[in-house]
Symmetry: C2
Subunit: 224 residues, 2 copies
Amino acid sequence: MATASNAGTTAPPSAPKGRGRRGTRASGDDRERAILETAERLLEERPLAEISVDDLAKGAGISRPTFYFYFPSKDAVVLTIIDRLVADAAEGREEILTTLAENGPRAGLRKSLENLYAAFRSRPGVVRAGSDLRPTNEEARDLWGAVMESWVADVTAVIEFERSRGAAPAGPPAREMAIALVQMNERAQYATLLGEAPSLDRDRVLDVLIDIWLRAIYGTPEPG
Amino acid sequence: MATASNAGTTAPPSAPKGRGRRGTRASGDDRERAILETAERLLEERPLAEISVDDLAKGAGISRPTFYFYFPSKDAVVLTIIDRLVADAAEGREEILTTLAENGPRAGLRKSLENLYAAFRSRPGVVRAGSDLRPTNEEARDLWGAVMESWVADVTAVIEFERSRGAAPAGPPAREMAIALVQMNERAQYATLLGEAPSLDRDRVLDVLIDIWLRAIYGTPEPG
DNA sequence: GAACTCTATCAACACTGTGTTGAGAAGGTC
DNA sequence: GACCTTCTCAACACAGTGTTGATAGAGTTC
């Protein structure tokens, strides 16, 4: 939900202005796809900073100037890929409030988060590229900000609902708590995904995060 | 504590190998200081990516090749600055276990964290530069990893102590919880410092973070 | 005070990467 | 066959990094 996206799955029929190819529809769709595929492949091999426009062009079997016919910059390619990844993640997402009601707090949260992170876990290189892009690219910042915002909104709703039905005690404003918890998840998941210095083991992250969420929201690790 | 650092406060007498100037001691100390000061100033004005070696050289009143006499690269300048910032932050830090014992959990935590973040809050540009550097610079990653690690170690000790004296209930391994909590703080503080998309207000961050810490560690926002 | 040494300085160069220009080829249409 | 439109790339112009080599000056040393 939320979030902009000018990227259908592969061939959008309407106006592809902004990031995509600059002309209109045509057969060179293959080239465009080749560039995107090359980028995805290379990103799982090495960081964005070590991939040049020339690498992408070569990988797609075209010259560098021709690359610029399809994309205005290297960043645009990565943003397109991230757009799609985010769309994939959003697609696999279910109504968290429903999941929680059906499975109870602990199992429900677990299911929701597992679901949410599934798409990201399968393409760490793309996630890293998105993160690397933020310092220099405002569009990347905005895109990720919108993603975070939609999660925060969901979590805020959950906290408010649980409080209203008496399952969770009062505490700091729900939105503030939601922001901090979502930020913790982002940071922890990212660190684990990339195997950073101090980080949680891949098979422990979720358990630990969920425990903290439950204690923070319900005051106990085993609510209801 | 912990953490490497080849930077005294201004003029280290011993071997300055690694980052600093490459020769030995001499009067060109002024130049070196001028470069560092220029970098600190410019970093509060614009992001690292928009500052060139030439900008630093010009700001210090020297030519670009001369810059390379003092520092091997732009990154080295920033790393030196960060080294010092981290040292400043470590200096103002008190034994957290003591602070907690003297002030009680809530007030003690607050005091410790306020103390810890004071140095960072005064130089957001430097913090941002450090963060921007991580994707491309391993030394920056390692440096920050070491800082995180020392905080994690402290927090782990606190959690274990509180559990051992019966003030905190059992839960996930102390170190795992400490990692997640420290990561949350890092992310939340950074987002607030830079005014990111969804982030907590400057005057609310600590309250919210502390509340989550207390609930996560003690099971209640107002422990004994 | 000439020979020597070490710090400090920079013009000129070599290189890597980005993005642009302008001239076409290849195909479809009327 | 004149005429768009898509697509392609050699050649260029730039911005930035890091290196070379020559040299100025200050400080010993004898």
